[in-house]
């Protein structure tokens, strides 16, 4: 190599190193990542104690990567190259048929928490069945896409331990208080019952579950033909897509509006002054977290009063899978309380004793249930 060419290579290398450094320094810090749905790290405070303990170093590196310029695009580059290399899964997400991104849930079901939650749920359901009657208490642990849509997975991919876990749940709640949705959802697996880019089921999936639950508990409910389906957005990219930044088709969120309207009011966390008469918070349709259009996301306690006039009062202990499920119940129950144990820090027992519920529903998704540390609060 001649001198000129040597300097060209050196110049190119320095340009990369210094260019990226400058780009990083010039980019203003971002507080929140919509895509990852989390607060990004800030520049850590400099003090002797943290420096000596090594905490400062660790925090600074987190800060550096969190604030790296064009963060999301780099993830897309990585996903692209791995797809090119023939990889069928990236960051524990399967690239499945029909544009589905399906979470693998590796290891979710084999933890101590997963095992303990089955015990806690079994004990809770047994106690409530004795109190409210067998037909009025159900545990519904919705299977995830990886289990129901297993025929869409890449060739030879093994679906997770989810089925074994649901079997264990069915065994532990053997007194018919466990509603296994695998069969009914399996029958509809060709339909749009799970989002392609998100970890939730669709409103349609929730409706099949609602019908199955109503039938199982012999509850008369307003039939599906009494609703009109309405599209809320056709540009939903969910949490699963966020993990891989892959070019995929957007999801559609819909709501089912009853043809004959039932009036209702709802309040969150005992705050009577914020009473609303809308289950849907449309402002979330302008954000990335569009699934939060249902009830404005998860709340510790949601209380709904309706003029359905059925004389039934429902308690739903739930995770976010219930958020598109409960709107169906508004037409069929006079009162509905939703409790999300992750954000509810009062005594569940006291709350139940002070209310007069006729029906109890425990509704979670399987992987969420297996990982949730708040399930033990059932004993509170």
């Amino acid at each position: 190599m001649k001198k000129k060419q040597q300097w060209t290579v050196i110049g190119f290398f320095l340009l990369m190193i210094f260019g990226f450094t400058a780009a990083g320094l010039l980019k203003p810090d971002t507080d929140f990542s919509e895509k990852e749905n989390r607060v990004l790290a800030k520049m850590p405070d400099i003090n002797i104690e943290d420096i000596l303990s090594g905490d400062f170093s660790a925090d600074y590196e987190t800060y550096l990567t969190d604030q790296f310029f064009l963060r999301d695009s780099w993830i897309g580059v990585k996903t692209g190259i791995e797809r090119l290399m023939g990889k069928q899964e990236i960051n524990d997400i399967y690239f499945a048929k029909d544009g589905y991104l399906i979470e693998k849930h590796t290891g979710d079901f084999e933890t101590e928490t997963a095992r303990r939650n089955i015990e806690a749920l079994a004990a809770f359901i047994k106690e409530q069945s004795e109190k409210y009657g067998k037909d009025h208490v159900r545990a519904v642990i919705a299977p995830n896409a990886v289990s129901v849509l297993s025929d869409r997975l890449p060739p030879f991919a093994v679906s997770s331990q989810e089925d074994a876990y649901l079997d264990a749940l069915a065994d532990a709640l053997a007194d018919e208080s466990f509603l296994d949705l695998r069969e009914i959802l399996g029958e509809h697996r060709e339909e749009y019952i799970y989002y392609r880019t998100d970890h939730h089921w669709t409103t349609l999936g929730a409706r099949y579950a609602y019908d199955a639950w109503a039938e199982d508990t012999q509850t008369d409910v307003l039939g599906a033909q009494e609703y009109e389906r309405e599209i809320l957005t056709e540009a939903f990219y969910g949490t699963v897509e966020a993990k891989v930044s892959a070019p995929v088709q957007a999801d559609v969120i819909e709501r089912w509006v009853p043809k004959k309207k039932t009036a209702y009011t709802l309040s969150f966390n005992h705050k009577a002054e914020e009473t609303k008469d809308n289950l849907y918070d449309g402002s979330y349709l302008d954000t990335r977290d569009k699934y939060a259009v249902f009830f404005g996301g998860n709340q510790g306690l949601t209380e709904i009063k309706t003029d359905a006039g059925t004389g039934r009062r429902l308690l739903v202990i739930k995770d976010s899978y219930a958020n598109c499920f409960v709107p169906f119940a508004v037409q069929d129950f006079d009162e509905i309380s939703m409790i999300d144990l992750r954000y509810y820090n009062e005594s569940l027992k006291e709350y139940m004793d002070n209310s007069h519920f006729s029906d109890i529903l425990f509704l979670y998704n399987a992987s969420g249930f297996a990982q949730d540390n708040a399930v033990v609060k059932l004993g509170n």
């Binding site: 060419q5 190119f12 895509k35 000596l52 963060r71 780099w74 290891g107 890449p154 993990k243």
Partner: protein, 472 residues
């Protein structure tokens, strides 16, 4: 701090490059020294004082040894050498092996002496070996003692080789500490080596490491044989591209600052025997043991029995050097036995075999060795090796097929990557287009740019952690 991080690439490296080259030649060692201390202190600030102690002690020991040597006081020089060796081995012994010894004593005697719980100082195995090579060589007269504490400190702490080698012997860079010439030519070679190293580590080693993580997280004893071999291959590739990538980065960075370190790897997976393998793998470690343990013990010059003993000692030590755990001892013994067998029995048969058979024989033994190395618990490692030979009861299942076609493209790249084929192909191309051509310069830049961009993508992704359940 590690090289393959955004912190190193976009904070540390630019700053040290600017200051180093802006500074007058006289100040360059100081800059390297200070930045090396910072580099070391980044992860564990307290242990930097331990390293400074080692530097100071061996610096004075070196001076004393030389002074006594020159005065003909060989005995006194010997005492200073002994002091230095004892000091270094005690530091290493205390910080690296204390808990291992206590744990073993507890296990054997049923006692319950509490563990110290001291975290391992980064790179301690490397820098204690470097400082020992210095005092030993001064004693032997193989090198002059370093007159400047600063220069000696620069040698020991030099960040390119500080935390994962190569183990640079003082005598090989003694002159470069005094006077070195940083040239554009060296800098270009340095860029080349550094980028190759980054690619090996971030793009190849980390990726195939995912396969190893997948396989090793399954129960080792029940694995289908083909899955077990696939996992072993993944680890075999991972450890090579990881470690040799690190050495490439070290050598490349050294070049950027005008230092020439010796090579540490020479296509070890193309070796035709275990003996050859250890001449090609982590060369700076095997030559250290040969020079400072094997030969002083008498090497092969005092009869077969002594030679067998010497090989056994060296390989026990090599094993335990890699980590304070029994599986590393076993791994060392495994190689000791294989080397003795080759030396006295197998070599003559092996030589008559076609070279493909020789390489295959070596690779299979090396892969088994890595499985002893990979599992801290000897029982798990043995169970895994059992599965490789069918103890799992099945040959393959759908997971085997799934993993194989997911990683097929990467495996092909890795297989090519452990041979000299890519290097030869590039050299042939360079010859054709002419090294001086602009086309060749453009191709270089495209290659470096590509490796660089992809590596950044992987480094950013490693921290990417979408949070699913979030409320505020």
């Amino acid at each position: 701090m590690v090289f393959s991080s955004l912190l190193f690439l976009f904070r540390f490296l630019p700053i040290v490059l600017i200051l180093y080259y802006v500074a007058p030649v006289k100040a360059r060692n100081i800059i390297l020294f200070l930045f090396s201390l910072f580099f070391y202190a980044w992860g564990e600030p307290k242990y930097v004082f331990l390293m400074l102690c080692s530097i100071t002690f061996d610096y004075f020991a070196g001076k004393k040894i030389e002074k006594n040597n020159l005065a003909g006081e060989k005995k006194r020089a010997g005492r200073w050498l002994a002091a230095s060796v004892i000091y270094n081995l005690s530091v290493l012994g205390f910080f690296k092996y204390a808990d291992f010894l206590i744990g073993s004593v507890n296990a054997v005697l049923g006692t319950s002496i509490p563990l110290t719980g001291i975290p391992l100082p980064i790179g301690i195995s490397f820098f204690t070996f470097q400082t020992m090579s210095y005092t030993i060589d001064v004693y032997r007269g193989a090198t002059r003692a370093q007159g400047s504490w600063l220069k000696y400190g620069t040698y020991v702490s030099m960040f390119p080789q500080l935390i994962a080698g190569p183990i640079v012997q003082y005598k090989t860079i003694a002159r470069q500490l005094e006077e070195r010439k940083e040239t554009a030519e060296d800098f270009v070679v340095g860029i080349n080596r550094f980028m190759i190293g980054v690619g090996k580590k971030v793009l190849l080693a980390n990726n195939i490491g995912v396969l190893w993580d997948t396989v090793s997280s399954m129960p080792a004893a029940g694995l289908p044989a083909a899955t077990a071999w696939l996992g072993a291959a993944a680890y075999t590739f991972q450890i090579y591209f990881d470690f040799s990538g690190y050495s490439d980065m070290a050598i490349g960075l050294g070049k950027m600052f005008g230092f020439h370190f010796l090579e540490n790897f020479n296509y070890p997976y193309t070796a035709g025997s275990i003996t050859q393998f250890w001449r090609k793998w982590h060369i700076s470690l095997s030559s250290w043991f040969r020079e400072y343990v094997y030969i002083p013990l008498g090497g092969n010059r005092r009869g077969i029995l002594k030679q067998v003993r010497n090989i056994a000692v060296v390989w026990m030590l090599t094993g335990i050097w890699h980590g304070a755990s029994w599986n590393f001892v076993l791994w060392g013994v495994y190689y000791g036995v294989l080397l003795i067998l080759e030396k006295f029995v197998l070599q003559k048969y092996l030589k008559k075999m076609p070279s493909a058979v020789q390489v295959l024989y070596t690779l299979i033994l090396v892969m088994i060795g890595w499985m002893l190395f990979a599992f801290d618990r000897v029982g798990t490692g043995m169970g895994y090796i059992g599965s490789m030979f069918g103890a799992g009861g099945t040959f393959a299942d759908s997971t085997t097929v799934y993993l194989l076609y997911n990683y097929a493209a990467l495996l092909v790249i890795l297989i090519l990557g452990v041979t000299e084929i890519p290097k030869r192909a590039v050299q042939r191309l360079l010859k054709k287009t002419g090294e001086d051509s602009w086309a060749c310069t453009a191709a270089r830049c495209i290659f470096y740019g590509g490796v660089f961009l992809l590596s950044v993508a992987y480094l950013v992704d490693a921290s990417y952690n979408p949070f699913l359940y979030f409320r505020f």
